[in-house]
């Protein structure tokens, strides 16, 4: 298993993901974007993905908004989608647990596409997250399964294709989709 995923690769992938989302929105009848940026990251800082957040600070093509709670991050992403803007919610596992009612009420019941990148902080390299000693890591995938949320795990740079793929899944299913960040970014 690789040591880490370079932040720059994740940012390039996010740009491609937003570009693809805008093409899909245009195909549905969305008029051309009135914004200079490609898309939005809604974040409650995740220790696991902190190098991505640091790099996003300098990134002009992606707008980052730090929210006070994950409930807000998810709901702002939903509002952006309503107005024709693509977004990614970047949080950690604890934030998923903190915002389950919003996942259910906004994204599942409201049929609003929300794509999450969720950092699995404290995930042990040598074992499956479901077998983790840490409850925060262990309960994540079972919780997503309970709610019927499609999810996949990023285990190295070779898995980056999962980001545009699951963003597409969230748009096409009109609901939540998750990529779990299984190792630290660098």
């Amino acid at each position: 298993m690789p040591e880490s995923i370079p932040a720059s690769l994740i940012i390039d992938t996010l740009k491609d993901t937003f570009t693809e989302a805008r093409v899909a929105f245009a195909a549905e009848g969305q008029p051309p974007s009135r914004h200079a940026h490609l898309g939005w990251v809604l974040s409650v800082p995740d220790t696991h993905q902190r190098t991505v957040l640091a790099a996003l600070d300098k990134e002009q093509a992606i707008r980052t908004l730090t929210c006070a709670t994950e409930d807000e991050a998810v709901t702002v992403a939903a509002g952006l989608y309503l107005g024709g803007e693509p977004a990614v919610v970047m949080i950690q596992h604890a934030g998923l647990y903190a915002s389950v009612n919003t996942l259910r009420g906004v994204s599942l019941d409201g049929r609003l596409p929300v794509f999450y990148l969720i950092g699995l902080l404290s995930r042990e390299r040598d074992r499956d997250p479901r077998e983790s000693r840490h409850s925060m890591v262990r309960h994540c995938e079972p919780l997503l399964d309970t709610f019927g949320v499609p999810h996949a795990r990023l285990e190295g740079p070779g898995d980056l294709h999962l980001i545009p793929e699951y963003h597409r899944v969230s748009r096409e299913r009109r609901g939540p989709a998750v990529v779990l960040v299984g190792l630290e970014t660098s």
């Binding site: 009848g29 969305q30 008029p31 009135r34 939005w40 908004l65 730090t66 929210c67 006070a68 709670t69 409930d71 807000e72 709901t75 702002v76 992403a77 939903a78 509002g79 952006l80 989608y81 309503l82 107005g83 024709g84 803007e85 977004a87 009612n101 919003t102 259910r104 009420g105 906004v106 019941d109 409201g110 049929r111 609003l112």
Partner: protein, 190 residues
Amino acid sequence: MAIKPEDALRLIAEARGGAICVPTMTTSPAWRTLAPDDLSVTCVGFMGGASALGLGLALARPDRRVLVLDGDGSLLMQLGSLATIAGARPRNFVHFVFKNGVYHTSGSQEIPGGLTVDFAMMAKAAGYRGAWSIGELDDLRRRLPAILGAEGPVLVELITTLANETPMTARGGVPFPQQVEALRIKLRSV
């Protein structure tokens, strides 16, 4: 000194122009009849989320005003959104908080702190560009044009009586996912 919420909503509906409106809780049954063809989405099923949904809409559509018609208990549930909204500085964001002092929809239990909670002061302290408390209908009528034209984010705490209907007594209306889809499509062409 308190405003009937239906009277406040009628004034807002008349003055709203092309604004996107985000009602929730007891503002939603009255809004349904006052603004039936409006660019609205009523928040149900995620208490506290109206302000954040409005923020997302405001950031996506800076060319259009967004009016959030919030409940006092609801705002308390996501009080941090005041700071998030202030930080995002959407110029087109107008936040009305209907302060009735209670969780009317769930049976009129008093909210924490009751009527002493000052949402206008909280908004100012969070960094909103302006915030006012209004408890008289004439005062609202006089100030509304300036409020709706102000550079946001701004908040208006409306001190109100209890609404005639709640989402529990006046069920129905278009289900949330259909409203969402309809608004998304409407927003493409305006």
